[in-house]
């Protein structure tokens, strides 16, 4: 085991204790690997959260009588949905910028950066697309 940040994959000696000592490092490395994998799909987690929020908020509010509320209440509700949507797009955009800045100088991470940015772009479009529905479709109709 050369350094904490670069643990060896193989066991370099039959010493059982040395082998066991690697366990926590392996765990950390595996967790980092899974995080790296999930980070490429960050945009879709934001998309999913946004989708659930706007869908559930609309469904529940309409069930609770938002459809018969005054025009001002309904406009406020739609404005909140629009703000949430813009905020979700902004979060995805920020993630893209941060990943680009962090990885653009690392040629070996080109694939990872491409997947992350591409996913973020599609997710951002999918989120922004919901603005059309919010702007054009009547509430609780």
């Amino acid at each position: 085991m050369s350094s904490p940040s670069v643990p060896p994959p193989g066991v370099s000696s039959p010493d059982v204790a040395a082998a066991r000592a690697e366990e926590p490092q392996d765990a950390r490395e595996n967790a980092a690997g899974v995080r790296a994998l999930l980070d490429t799909a960050f945009g879709y987690f934001v998309w999913a959260a946004h989708f659930l929020v706007v869908y559930i908020a609309t469904a529940v509010s309409c069930q609770l009588g938002l459809g018969t509320a005054g025009a001002r209440t309904r406009t406020t509700f739609l404005a909140v949905l629009a703000l949430v949507t813009v905020a979700a797009v902004a979060i995805v955009a920020l993630h893209t910028v941060r990943r680009y800045r962090r990885q653009r100088e690392l040629p070996e991470r080109r694939f990872r950066m491409a997947v992350t940015i591409g996913n973020d772009a599609i997710a951002a479009v999918a989120i922004a697309w919901q603005l059309l529905a919010i702007a054009l479709v009547p509430l609780c109709a």
């Binding site: 066991v11 392996d26 609309t58 491409a114 599609i122």
Partner: protein
Amino acid sequence: MTAPFDDTVTTRPPARAPDAAPRHLRQSEGPDGDERLRVAWAKPRRFGLLTEVNNTVVGVLYIATGFLFFLGAGVLALLMRVQLAVPGNTFLGAGTYNQLFTMHGTVMMFLCAVPIVEAVAVLLLPNMLGARDMPFPRLSAFGYWCYAFGGVLVFSSLFFGVAPDGGWFMYPPLSSSTYSPGLNTEFWILGLGFVEISAVAAAVELIVGILRTRAPGMTLGRMPIFAWYMLVTAGMIMIGMPMVIAADVLLELERAFGMPFYDATRGGDPVLWQHLFWLFGHPEVYIIFLPAAGMVSMILPTFTRTRLVGYAWVALAAISVGFLSFGLWVHHMYATGLPLLSLSFFSAASTAIAIPMGVQVFAWLATLWDGKPVLRVPLLFVLGFLIIFVIGGVTGVMVAAVPYDWQVHDSYFVVAHFHYVLIGGMVFPLFAALYYWSPLVTHRMLSERLGRWAFWLMFVGFNAAFLPMHFTGLRGMPRRVYTYAGDLGWNGLNLVSSVFSFVFAAGVLVVVYDFVRHLRTGAKAGHDPWNAPSLEWLSGLAPHGFRSLVPVTSRYPLWEQQELPGDIVAGRGYLPDAPTRERETLVSTPVGGVPEQILRLPGPGWTAFGAALATAVVFTAMTLRLAAVGVVAGVAATAAILSWLWSMDRALPREPADAGRGTVLPLYSAGSSSVGWWGMAVCLISDAAVVASFMFAYLFLWTARPALWPPAWAPLPGFIEPAAIAAATVGAWLLFELAERRNRRDHRLATALCLVASALFAGGALVMGWRWLDGAGLSATGHSYGAAVWLLLGYIALHLAMGIAMALWCLARLALGMIDSWRCLTLRICLLWWRFTVPAAVLTVALVAGFPHVVA
């Protein structure tokens, strides 16, 4: 082009200390090593088909069974087309027709499409990834046998006139005991139960296999593109399948015990079924499509003699489809009366998914443009796929628009649309795959001439049969009618569809004939007849698969690593030997593909087959209400599964072993490096989806009738009992944590005491929960509110009971010396269970206790 996914884990070299390995465990590159490998991987001489667990046997069985179901369901379709060929036909009665269309859809979707794409992955992926097998071979075999037994049972119900008849989506109230009192619906639930078991089992295999058993050096960025597709697909199965499992459980609880989840007269809502079913049902379309797209992406480079254009874009498009597909479920429910704005959200998501689908189509077209296409039969089927699937995709965007969908909802337009998507998107690529990969399995070539005949018969037959259905639908013909009047303008269109459906079937028959013929007389295929670039084509160089596991430095190793075949055959890779005559493969890191461990794999045995057979008898006996048989089979199934579990986490040498290439690796890991730990973690994702589905059901039933839910007569829950239950559950978990920590120091007595105390705390939580529910006087059958509460708490009780069983299991193994500070994987896996159970239990109890106060 071969940039690794993450550099930090790929640059470090494997440890080199060959002298450290015990002499008797040395790997030999010579013929003696090859001989030991042959012995280790030899197929059993007797009952090989029943006892072999290797992916090359299980995968072939899986595909063959799926194809038989495809032919069976195809015959049902032909019978329906005969009935619909002319108006007023009496070839089939209404009841029989109902059974036929239900079974056609059910068999095609659940017994053919999903299993067969998973089967292709089980067969091919280990070889594509440069591994010798999947990480859990017995689980694969168990999944296959469950599927085979369940499928045969469901299909045979047709011959006894008790086949399911409520449509492949089995909507309540039609499927309720009131309107479907017979065994028909029970058989559907039975069949689906088996398919769910096998699908989830295969998905666990695939996720862990793809992430943990890749060839050395195969980073995520160097994986064959099919692996990306299957990783996404398996993830979708792990999330999507549990939702339909949850829907099935609720349906069976309603039918068998009268718990009214879907019964509107007692506070239930049939729309709940539609939500849960389509939460799975829409991703299901992509679960079927994505693997087929993966096959296309593997086949295209071979026949265009160039690399796949936009590998990264295709991979991210697959990920994108995997996520977005879960936001489309309501587009099957546009006619249920949901608010317009809600429908529009789903409409927007349905059109957004066209972006990643378009990315893939353009990548395939660009690959064709970039290369020099060689028009062999597999490419012909791929081109057919592109044409048909794009048409299906375009009509998909049309029905994603709410107003258009309202016009064609439940009409033959929709039938035409989804057959274009499913036959174009899955069947044509599957036949391309059959022609492409058959030589790998049978070592013979299918006929080019017969293949072309088959393709053109299928292509012309399909389009001429299904294109007219768009117009039949636009003229107003509804789905699922067994006959029609002759003056509605549908006669000619229906006749054309019926005639050409037989042309399509003739094409399939030509393939069947060709396949049977080629097994004896097909031209001999070399190890790589297509000059393909991926690793699986080197697995035929030795009878037992790879002679050795060589490092990979490219996405197209056979094109760009010329030395590869020589190195593999000469045993210059990892594991060129089987010094203990046991089956082995490498475990590598999930991102960088760095060798991390030698994984000993189980060989042939009766465990998987026996457990699946006993489970099948249990399910069947329950369906047929044969209590005594069910009890006996239940005992047998439990014994088989327990004996299987007992054999796991076995004693392995504690010294690291020679892995070849001058490297030594451990044989055992008890932490997150272990594939068993990963398997459990993936299973818990599925479990979380079930819990989430049940919580969704509880909350949805409130939204259905917010003013009447909970009903006025139901007492509001107190807070003291739930708090005590939550505290006892947390206590049980903390004690299990403590047991694991004590065990690290080999404090056996303290470990045992902590395990006993953990079981007692969990038992206490169970008793308190029962007394709380019983004392509340909340009936599970009177109203959906009570049913939902019993459901949620019952499921958590099941987790606590499992937690107790795990504590006792660990205790027994500890007492027998099968758990210690080194050999502690069982304990850590059980701890994972508790780490999931505690938040699930606390959240559930908080919901059940707190939510009624919020809304009352």
